[in-house]
């Protein structure tokens, strides 16, 4: 059953009346990969998924699955299967009939479809509950049944709409691992919509960060984490301090940035014209407490909050044109020279940990 398909999205736009939910996005999802659409609510990630599934009409552009342009095909003819956020199990049918539903629609006879459904339930370790109704199951069990129902159609791509959002934190992590294992065993393309960075990082081969109907960055998790493409991605992934300012020049291949309250910073990356606005990002866990090796790779800030997190301590400081500059330092380093709220503390980082961010419209 491993006939994964590449999904090719070509300048797809979705308009609802006069508002545009998705702005001409283009994306290639390689066959057999686990792709996560990540973004805040209302960013267009679910609309995009529903357009791939065929539950939402495409205003303009095309979607190709494998070698077939599926833009105008009904959902069941696309070779995709969708798993809904609420699982959408039919409450009046038992698990076998729920899983066998698509076979019944195709007119497969009763014995055959029930046997196949039981086989799928066994694959999901749910065969013991076969005659129960969905309402008698826990969230995690319902999800397994929904997966069995989606996979019985033998899809080339499985589309999951926030599949883990209804589960409690423990179950979330367990089902996450199950999803990943399932994807690796089946070898088909998974497209998973989520608003959790952690979930996307844990699962994805390809993270697509969306904001305001546009793709901010589409890259493997490590790239998204280590070199976010835009200020939005850096902020959304949450492990970078973003500093905005104006380019004042460059020096030794480093971009120089002036911020509004008078500081000046250097960062590695693409060089820009002086006077242009630019954003730089600094990894929170690479910030040290101490004097900087050169003046534009650090600043002195007033500590406004200290959070103890066990192995690390999270410091929030004001300065460098931002109110909440975050530094995550190891507990050992922190307790060697304890700091109180209100202290003025020097922060420093290496040139390689400050990177220049791109802007979408430039």
């Amino acid at each position: 059953m491993s006939k994964a398909a590449e999904i090719d999205i070509v300048s797809v736009t979705k308009n609802y009346g006069t508002t545009t939910a998705v702005h001409a996005i283009s994306l290639k999802i390689p066959a057999g990969s686990y792709c996560c659409f990540l973004g805040p609510s209302g960013c267009g990630k679910t609309s995009t998924l529903r357009m791939i599934a065929g539950h939402e009409s495409i205003s303009s552009g095309d979607v190709r699955l494998g070698n077939v342009v599926v833009t105008d095909l009904p959902p069941a003819k696309r070779g995709t299967a969708m798993m809904f956020q609420s699982y959408a199990l039919l409450p009046h049918l038992d698990l076998i009939d729920n899983v066998a539903f698509s076979l019944k629609m195709k007119g497969v006879d009763k014995e055959e479809r029930r046997a196949k459904a039981l086989e799928m339930l066994t694959l999901m370790q749910m065969e013991g509950y076969a005659t129960r109704r969905p309402a008698q199951l826990s969230g995690g069990q319902q999800q397994r049944v929904a997966l069995a129902r989606a996979l019985i159609t033998d899809p080339e791509a499985l589309l999951l709409d926030e599949p883990l959002s209804a589960l409690d934190p423990f179950l979330k992590i367990r089902m996450r691992a199950e999803l990943k294992k399932l994807q690796q065993n089946l070898g088909i393309t998974f497209v998973h919509v989520t608003h959790s960075q952690e979930e996307a990082m844990a699962l994805a081969d390809l993270i697509v960060v969306m904001n305001d109907g546009r793709i901010e960055q589409a890259a493997p998790p490590r790239i998204v984490f280590e070199s976010p493409a835009t200020a939005f991605v850096a902020r959304f992934m949450g492990d970078h301090n973003v500093i905005s300012g104006k380019v004042s020049g460059h020096d030794n291949g480093l971009l120089k940035l002036d911020v509004a309250d008078g500081g000046s910073f250097a960062a590695t990356g693409e060089l820009r014209q002086p006077g242009e606005g630019a954003d730089i990002a600094i990894r929170t866990d690479h910030v040290r407490i101490g004097e900087a090796s050169q003046p534009d790779l650090g600043f002195t800030g007033l500590v406004s909050n200290i959070e103890y997190r066990g192995s690390t301590v999270k410091l929030t400081a004001a300065g460098a044109g931002t109110e909440d500059f975050t530094a995550i330092v190891r507990d050992r380093d922190f307790f060697a020279t304890p700091i109180k709220v209100g202290d003025a503390v020097p922060f420093a980082w290496d040139a390689g940990d400050a990177i220049v961010l791109g802007r979408l419209d430039s």
Binding site: P74, S86, S102, M105
Partner: protein, 305 residues
């Protein structure tokens, strides 16, 4: 420590007594809250039914009733072929009206729930459905007469168009007229519960069915109809009980040519045969309760209440 010292036995007993007093109070409050409905249901539902049941065993002549315990009224009621014919006729009306209102009601409710996108428009159209209810049943019934009559709107239009040579006789004062008026009167009782049920169907179920390859018809028969059953059952209970108890529609629209159980009771009462009417009423009540029980056995409506 001082707090612990204060907790002397006496103090804790006082505390308990105070708590118990308050709980009693709240018990009284809940009984008070239940009292008005209990009184109304007791005085105006249970007591009359009890009286009817008692009176149905009494003796009577042309002038008065005599307290007794006779099964004569039941023997006479159930032993007469007129009763059986009347019950069959009433059941025929109930079946016809039920089938027509079920189809029409589901149709209207489906349209409102699935084809009207904005909830404001849904509410407006639903209110439009209830507009006829702003006038009385009798007026709505009587207004059919100028439409269906021998020289009424339908007949005169058809004759003027040259479609028929002479007026159609069975339009008014016929079983057709009775069923038509009942459908008109009772369809909304079917629309409302079905609409209510349809509105609660999770739209993602329909999408999931589509995703599984269901055609529009298959979505209807495999998802929507099974899930609409509780609403249909409630509507069925409304319509069946209303039709089984109807006498005015039957009397007016059939012009006295058709009979119903309630009409038979009304006639018995106008002849002062109260015990006979009471026995009839008990039989009808039992029959309707059996029908309702049958419906509830087939369909689980608990989720709708």
């Amino acid at each position: 420590m001082t707090v612990a010292v204060d907790q002397s036995p006496a103090a804790s007993i006082r505390l308990k007594a105070g708590r118990r007093g308050r709980r009693l109070d709240s018990n009284i409050v809940s009984y008070l809250e239940a009292l008005p409905l209990t009184l109304i249901l007791g005085a105006f539902l249970l007591l009359p039914i009890l009286m009817i049941a008692v009176v149905s065993f009494w003796d009577y002549d042309f002038a008065s009733m005599y307290p007794d315990f006779l099964t004569m009224n039941y023997v006479e009621t159930l032993g007469s072929w007129v009763t059986w014919k009347t019950y069959l006729n009433t059941l025929k009306f109930a079946l016809l009206v039920w089938m027509i209102t079920l189809i029409a009601g589901f149709w209207v409710a489906y349209f409102l729930a699935f084809h009207i996108r904005s909830s404001a428009m849904q509410m407006v159209l639903f209110l439009v459905c209830t507009v006829p209810f702003l006038t009385s049943n009798i007026i709505r019934m009587i207004s059919w007469i100028p439409v269906l009559g021998r020289n009424g709107l339908v007949n005169s239009t058809l004759i003027e168009m040259g479609l028929i040579p002479a007026p159609i006789e069975w339009l008014l004062y016929s079983d057709f007229a009775v069923v038509l008026a009942m459908v008109h009167l009772y369809t909304l009782f079917m629309v409302t519960p079905i609409f209510n049920t349809l509105m609660r169907i999770d739209r993602s179920l329909v999408e999931a069915a589509r995703d599984a390859g269901a055609s529009g018809w298959q979505v209807l028969t495999n998802v929507i109809l099974p899930l609409a059953k509780p609403g249909m059952a409630i509507g069925t209970i409304f319509v069946v009980t209303l039709v089984m108890a109807d006498f005015s529609t039957v009397q007016v629209m059939s012009g006295g040519q058709s009979a119903s159980v309630a009409l038979m009771m009304k006639n018995q009462m106008s002849l002062l045969q109260y015990p006979a009417a009471a026995a009839n009423a008990v039989v009808l009540l039992a029959l309707v309760l059996l029908m309702v029980a049958g419906i509830l056995r087939v369909v689980d409506i608990r989720k709708e209440l």
